[in-house]
C-alpha cells in the first residue's frame, strides 16, 4: 500500500504538487491523470525519492519513505518518462547493474534477465548499447529493468511517451501482463482510453491539486453514461445524459450534425479539467 499525506512540492514560488492525499491499495492499478505540467512526474519523482517533498510525506505499507529507507525502496520500481539509464551500457549490463543495486544473487540475475528479455522479445539485442536502441526498445528495456527485481509497487511515468502506434500497443500488452501479477501499479499517461481499460481507480490532478479520485465507471456514470456530440461550423459541443432515452430524445430535437456514443474517461477528463484549460 502506498499513501501520500499532504504531499507538497514547491520550486521557489511555483507549487508543483499541492497537499496531495492519495491512498493506493495493495494490488491496485491506479491511474494518475492530468494535463502537461499538472504535477504527475513531480509526484513520481518524490515517490522514488529523487525529489524530497517540501511538505508532507509518503508512506509505504504505513512506514514513511525516505532516502535512507532501504526496506521501503526495495519494494519500489520506477519507470520514468525519460530513459533514465546509462546510455553507454549494453542491455545486458543495464540489467546486471539493476540486479546488483538490489543485491540479487548472480544466478537469479542471470535467470531473470533471460526471462524478461524473452518476455519483451529483446533476446537478440542483449549486447546492443542503449544509445543505439530505438525509443520503443529503450522503453521495453526499462520495463524489463523495472520487473527485474520483482517489485511490489511499480511507478510508471508515461511508459508509452514518444512511441509509435505498434510499439505502444506492445507496451500496453506488457503492462497488461504485469497487471495479472498482483503488483500495485501507479500509472501516469496521456492515453486516457488505456487508463480507462486498465485502471481500477483513477485520480485527476490539475495544477498540483487533486481534482477527483474514483473508478472510471463511477466517474463516467456521474458525468452521464451517454454522450451526444453536436457539431456546428465552429466547434464540437458534447452533451451528456444519464440514460439512453434522454439522449435519443435530445437527438430527435436537434437539427445539427449529431452523433450519440458512450461517454468515456476522456470526456470526464475534458469536462473536469480540459474546459478550465480551454477557457484560459
Amino acid at each position: 500500500m502506498i499513501e501520500t499525506r499532504n504531499l507538497t512540492k514547491k520550486f521557489n514560488d511555483f507549487t508543483a504538487v499541492d497537499h496531495l492525499n492519495l491512498r493506493i491499495e495493495t494490488g491496485e492499478f491506479f491511474g494518475f491523470l492530468g494535463p502537461n505540467g499538472a504535477g504527475k512526474s513531480t509526484t513520481i519523482s518524490m515517490m522514488s525519492t529523487v525529489l524530497l517533498p517540501t511538505e508532507g510525506e509518503i508512506l509505504i505499507d504505513g512506514k514513511p519513505l525516505n532516502r535512507k529507507d532501504s526496506i521501503g525502496k526495495r519494494k519500489l520500481s520506477v519507470i520514468t518518462q525519460e530513459y533514465s539509464m546509462r546510455q553507454d551500457m549494453t542491455m545486458e549490463e543495464v540489467m546486471e547493474y539493476q540486479g546488483r543495486l538490489y543485491f540479487m544473487p548472480k544466478k537469479l540475475r542471470r535467470e531473470k534477465t533471460e526471462e524478461l528479455f524473452a518476455f519483451a522479445g529483446l533476446e537478440e539485442y542483449r549486447h546492443r548499447i542503449v544509445r543505439h536502441l530505438s525509443g520503443g526498445m529503450k522503453r521495453k528495456l526499462m520495463i524489463c529493468r523495472g520487473l527485474m527485481i520483482d517489485p511490489e509497487i511499480m511507478l510508471l511515468d508515461e511508459p508509452t511517451a514518444g512511441m509509435d502506434a505498434i510499439s505502444r500497443r506492445q507496451m500496453w500488452n506488457l503492462i497488461r501482463k504485469m497487471r495479472t501479477s498482483g503488483i500495485t501499479i501507479f500509472l501516469t499517461t496521456h492515453y486516457i482510453d488505456e487508463a480507462q481499460a486498465l485502471c481500477d481507480r483513477v485520480a485527476l490532478i490539475d495544477q498540483g491539486k487533486l481534482n477527483v479520485v474514483d473508478t472510471p465507471d463511477n466517474l463516467i456514470h456521474a458525468l452521464g453514461k451517454y454522450a451526444v456530440d453536436e457539431t456546428d461550423d465552429e466547434m464540437l459541443k458534447t452533451h451528456y445524459f444519464r440514460d439512453r432515452e434522454s439522449a435519443i430524445a435530445y437527438l430527435s430535437q436537434t437539427n445539427e450534425d449529431t452523433v450519440m456514443r458512450n461517454s468515456t474517461l476522456e470526456d470526464v477528463f475534458v469536462e473536469r479539467i480540459g474546459k478550465k484549460l480551454l477557457k484560459k
Binding site: V50, K73, Q87, F103
Partner: protein
C-alpha cells in the same frame, strides 16, 4: 555490498573506454614532460628539471584522472542520462554509492599516475617511487574524486563539468607545486596555495622520490580535505531537495 556494485559499474566503463581513458591520461602529461622537461632543458637546485617535474606530473595526473572520472560521469548521469535516479530509488545505501564513487575515481587517478611512471621509467632519472608514493596518489585521488562528486551535485547543466575543470583543476595543475615550487610564491599567496591538496601530494611524492621522508602533516591535510568533501557529498545525497 553496494560499493562493489559501483566499482563493477566503474570497471565496466573502464573496460569499454580503455583506449580513450588511457590516451587521455597520457597526452597532457606527456606534452608537459616533453616541452618543459626535455625541450626546455634547465636545472633546479643543481638537478635536472625533469627530476623536479616528474613527481609533480605524477601527482597532477592522479588529480586529473580521478576528478574527470567522477565529475564528467556523475554530471552526465545526474543531469543528462538521469541514470542517478536508478541508484536513488534502489535499496543500495547512498553512502555506499558515494564511497564506491570515491574509490572508483581514486583508482582511475592511480591508473593515470602509474601510466606516467611507466612512461618515464626508460629515462633513468634515479627517482624513487615506492608504496608510499602510490598511497599518496590514491589519497590524492580520493580528495579529488570527492570534490568532483560535490561539484557534480551542484552542477546545473552537464556543461558545468568542463567549467569546473577550467576554474579549479587547471589553475591547480599549474600553481600547486607541479612545475615550480610554491616556495617561490609571495607570502600570503604561497600559504594558500601550499595548503591545497595537489601542493601537498606533489610535495610528498617529490620528497619520497629524492629519498627524503615526506612531511607527515601532508597526510593529515589530505585526509582533512577528504573528510570535509565526503561529509558534504553525504549531506547532499541524503538531504538535497532536488537532486
Amino acid at each position: 555490498m553496494g560499493i562493489i556494485t559501483i566499482l563493477w559499474e566503474k570497471w565496466a566503463e573502464f573496460k569499454r573506454d580503455f583506449y580513450k581513458i588511457t590516451i587521455a591520461a597520457m597526452i597532457s602529461p606527456l606534452m608537459y614532460l616533453v616541452i618543459f622537461g626535455m625541450g626546455i632543458q634547465t636545472t633546479s637546485h643543481g638537478e635536472p628539471y625533469l627530476n623536479f617535474l616528474i613527481p609533480g606530473i605524477v601527482a597532477m595526473s592522479s588529480m586529473t584522472g580521478s576528478f574527470s572520472a567522477v565529475a564528467q560521469n556523475m554530471s552526465v548521469q545526474r543531469l543528462y542520462e538521469k541514470a542517478l535516479d536508478q541508484v536513488m530509488v534502489s535499496p543500495t545505501p547512498l553512502w555506499q554509492f558515494i564511497l564506491g564513487q570515491i574509490i572508483g575515481g581514486s583508482l582511475r587517478g592511480l591508473y593515470a599516475g602509474t601510466i606516467i611512471l611507466l612512461l618515464t621509467m626508460p629515462i633513468h632519472t634515479g627517482l624513487i617511487f615506492n608504496g608510499w608514493s602510490f598511497l599518496i596518489m590514491f589519497l590524492n585521488g580520493t580528495v579529488f574524486s570527492t570534490m568532483a562528486l560535490v561539484l557534480s551535485f551542484l552542477a546545473k547543466s552537464y556543461t558545468d563539468a568542463p567549467r569546473f575543470t577550467s576554474y579549479i583543476i587547471t589553475p591547480m595543475s599549474f600553481l600547486c607545486n607541479t612545475f615550480f615550487s610554491t616556495d617561490q610564491m609571495p607570502g600570503g599567496f604561497r600559504q594558500v596555495v601550499s595548503a591545497l591538496p595537489l601542493s601537498q601530494a606533489s610535495d610528498m611524492i617529490r620528497s619520497i622520490s629524492t629519498g627524503v621522508a615526506p612531511d607527515i602533516s601532508g597526510y593529515f591535510i589530505l585526509l582533512a580535505y577528504l573528510v570535509v568533501f565526503s561529509a558534504i557529498a553525504v549531506v547532499f545525497i541524503y538531504k538535497k531537495k532536488n537532486l
